[in-house]
């Protein structure tokens, strides 16, 4: 470091010295202007609390249309422009109307009543036709190339959308589906006039949201500007909002520390102390619904034996991993889904760390020493590689040795899908904060761990078929107990969501569903 700093002066070449001086001149010129830092104080007499807010995010939204992009960070940004029919309150799992004001169950689906007087950014009023077009475009076979397959899969049961009047439409899902509404929380409504554009709608998205699209440079930034006709009065609080795309951890941290951005997502746990050590910055954490676990191939030896799977649960020191690698942030998993969701089962208890019991169970199962293939992703989840390393060491201690294969997610997941691993680390997030989101995840037909339990399939179907929430909660509590005690996986912890913020940032709080909204945020 010292050597580098001295180099220009010691080199003794005149041309170089002049160069250094002119570089300083350029530098000081930049110092005076510093256009990359937002003005410290908003001008008076504005309808907004602050003129500008710049935030740093780790993931590129790639494409500004929720029908096409389905990564959570991307959806967060798009949701500032396009709005869904309803959103979940992440603290209690209840649906809150956004573009739909109310809804009621019908025998074959849902009837939605839209909010009146909501206008798209092009001045057109939101009507039931727009909702119909948006939903239809997802299941339209002609659009299979550009509609995100996950949302398409979840919408597949939609039979038709009938427009009843300007503000009312009926969704026919071929039999009642309670959870269908929670799928809609991830889908931004686009105007029916977007039909002509197809996939290219995303290049200049028009929605009903608090912000209008201004500019998107992939890999660089997304800028949006307050929608003066927004239907929620008093929002948004900031006139201009810029998301800077900063995938590199150190660069993102530096941007926060230098004051270029007032918020960053995905703070690495080892940088928390560094941020907290500064008077102008703070760290905010929230436990997400993403549960990290080790999947065990349920229909292959040795994990076809429940006792062996149970042994793995006792052998892994999840508390140690959680404290040591996650810094004690997030929470230990105590049930298949968190307490904020429907049908949380508070009777279930996490398996304690008990290696001698694990050994005993393995002995009883007749597999005192066993060799498995273990797979883990690198760089997909928070400190995933270290977690895998800890798990392998702990398994070894009870006599389970492994061929270890830790790779980049793309290659890793291909192997998972091809069932090449006996055990692998995975994180699963309830995007709609409804237990039904995990229906395919635990289904006998599509479980990645080949977990098959007809009772689970049946209870999922029952929980979705009832419109009575008390009844549904009861069904899901029973379901949770079955899944928990079948130990298809080794349960570990919910991943924390760690944000770095400027202490001047107001009106922003982290959410359990990992969505990041700045509609109510401003700089003091």
């Amino acid at each position: 470091m010292n050597v580098q700093a001295r180099k220009p002066r010691r080199s003794g070449v005149i041309g170089r010295r002049t160069l250094f001086k002119s570089a300083l001149l350029v530098g000081s010129g930049a110092l005076l202007a510093r256009p990359w830092i937002a003005p410290r104080r908003a001008r008076a007499a504005s309808a907004y609390q602050s003129e500008q807010l710049v935030v740093g995010i780790s993931t590129d939204p790639v494409i500004l249309d929720t029908r096409q992009s389905q990564n959570t960070t991307g959806v967060s940004q798009i949701d500032h422009i396009l709005e869904p029919l309803a959103l979940l309150n992440p603290d209690n799992g209840k649906l809150v109307g956004v573009l739909a004001e109310s809804w009621e169950p019908t025998s074959s689906g849902w009837r939605l009543h839209l909010r009146h007087g909501v206008k798209f950014h092009n001045g057109q009023e939101l009507t039931a036709e727009d909702v119909k077009y948006t939903l239809d475009s997802i299941v339209d076979p002609a659009n299979v190339k550009w509609v995100q397959p996950t949302i398409r899969g979840k919408m597949q049961r939609l039979v038709s959308v009938q427009v009843q009047d300007r503000y009312t439409c009926t969704l026919d899902t071929g039999g009642f589906s309670r959870a269908f509404l929670s799928t809609l929380t991830q889908l931004g409504i686009v105007p029916a006039s977007a039909a002509a554009q197809g996939a290219s709608f995303a290049q200049h998205p028009i929605g009903t949201g608090p912000y209008r699209y201004v500019e998107f440079v992939s890999g660089s930034h997304l800028t949006v500007e307050a929608n003066p006709d927004y239907w929620q009065k008093g929002l948004p609080k900031t006139r201009r909002l810029t998301f800077r795309i900063l995938p590199e951890n150190q660069t993102r941290l530096a941007a926060l520390e230098s004051g270029e951005v007032s918020y960053i997502d995905n703070v690495p746990p080892d940088a928390i102390a560094r941020i907290k050590g500064r008077a102008d910055l703070d760290v905010m954490t929230e436990t997400t619904s993403r549960f990290m676990h080790i999947q065990l191939l349920n229909d292959h030896k040795p994990f076809d034996n429940r006792n062996v799977r149970l042994a793995v649960n006792y052998a892994i020191d999840k508390y140690g991993i959680w404290r040591g690698i996650m810094g004690g942030l997030g929470e230990i998993t105590t049930a298949p889904w968190p307490s904020s969701m429907l049908g949380f089962n508070n009777q279930l208890k996490p398996f304690p760390y008990d290696p001698s019991r694990a050994k005993r169970l393995l002995d009883e199962a007749g597999v005192s020493s066993v060799h498995i293939k273990y797979g883990g992703p690198d760089g997909r989840y928070l400190n995933d590689k270290q977690v895998s390393e800890a798990v392998i060491t702990q398994l070894q201690a009870v006599g389970i040795t492994a061929d270890v294969d830790i790779r980049e997610f793309g290659a890793f997941f291909q192997n998972v899908f091809a069932h090449k691993y006996d055990a692998f680390l995975l994180g699963y997030s309830y995007a709609g904060l409804d237990p039904d989101n995990a229906r395919e995840f635990w289904s006998s037909k599509s479980s990645l761990a080949d977990y098959k339990n007809p009772d689970v399939d049946r209870l999922f179907a029952q929980g979705d078929a009832t419109s009575n929430l008390t009844e549904a909660a009861d069904i899901y509590r029973r379901l949770a107990a079955i899944v928990w005690n079948d130990v298809p996986y080794a349960w570990m912890y919910y991943q924390p969501n760690i944000s770095g913020v400027s202490r001047r940032l107001r009106g922003w709080a982290p959410r359990k569903d990992e969505l990041i909204y700045f509609t109510g945020a401003w700089l003091a």
Binding site: S11, A30, H221
Partner: protein, 307 residues
Amino acid sequence: MKGGSLLWRLLHAAIVLCGVLTVVFLLLRLTPGDPVLLMVSPDAPQSAVVALRHALGFDQPLPVQFADYFAHLLRGDLGTSLRQHRPVSTLILSRLPATFELAGSGMLLAVIVAVPLGVFGAIRRGSMMDVLTRTLALLAQSLPTFWMGILLIIVFAVHWRVLPTSGRGTVAQLVLPSVTLSFTMIGLLAQVTRTALLEVLDADYMRTGRAKGLSNAIVLLRHGLRNALIPVITLVGLQIGTLLGGAIITESVFSWPGIGLLAINAIDQRDYPLVQGVVALAGVVFVVINFLVDMSYTYLDPRVRYT
């Protein structure tokens, strides 16, 4: 060289490009990871995966996919990005200016610093300064780009706050990434300049120049440097290609929205058409630069002629 060699060179370039594209096409498909699986969520039903694979044509035999790819290529169609649903050519063109800007300024900076350094080393060969310069040049060359970049960000953007951390748009934002990018090259370039100049310093024409009464500086610049420049320019040409590659790391560290960042994301997502497009572009750049380097020889050394 004999007549028609220009045509021959163009043909040669076309063959090289075809080879590059074939290799990339095959390597991508040999690389573990499936673009379709990366587009669906972990719990997608098998039927969704099959349907998407079919819609994208990835269920076709490899030779069919390959023929299809080349047929489109001949019509100037690089395909559509699997993730961004836009033509690959549009995406690349939108990112190209940023990368050229960075690679260009990085190269310029490297030449401005390294050539005088090399000249100095040659004429004061063996002096303390020469040894020191060479040691520092070696050090600069050995430092990893990402480490250098992050160090510069911490010093200039976080501590002194005289330059922005990252992004593109203002001249100030160009400074740190170009310095970072130029760093690895300065050492190499200074070394080659020094060696090349040393070789010509004792040449007969240099002595002749001095004998006919020219000043030392003029002999050095007009006769010495001009002759020494050929290997330097070859190196600069080759390095521009490397710079476009090396820019990948620099672009990531500084969130510079160029080709490198586009390529990294495309590779992560196994966005085959986009990766193929970026590599095709890199191939074209290499071929064009080599061509220009060859052409520059005729200017520097009148004995070299292409027709």
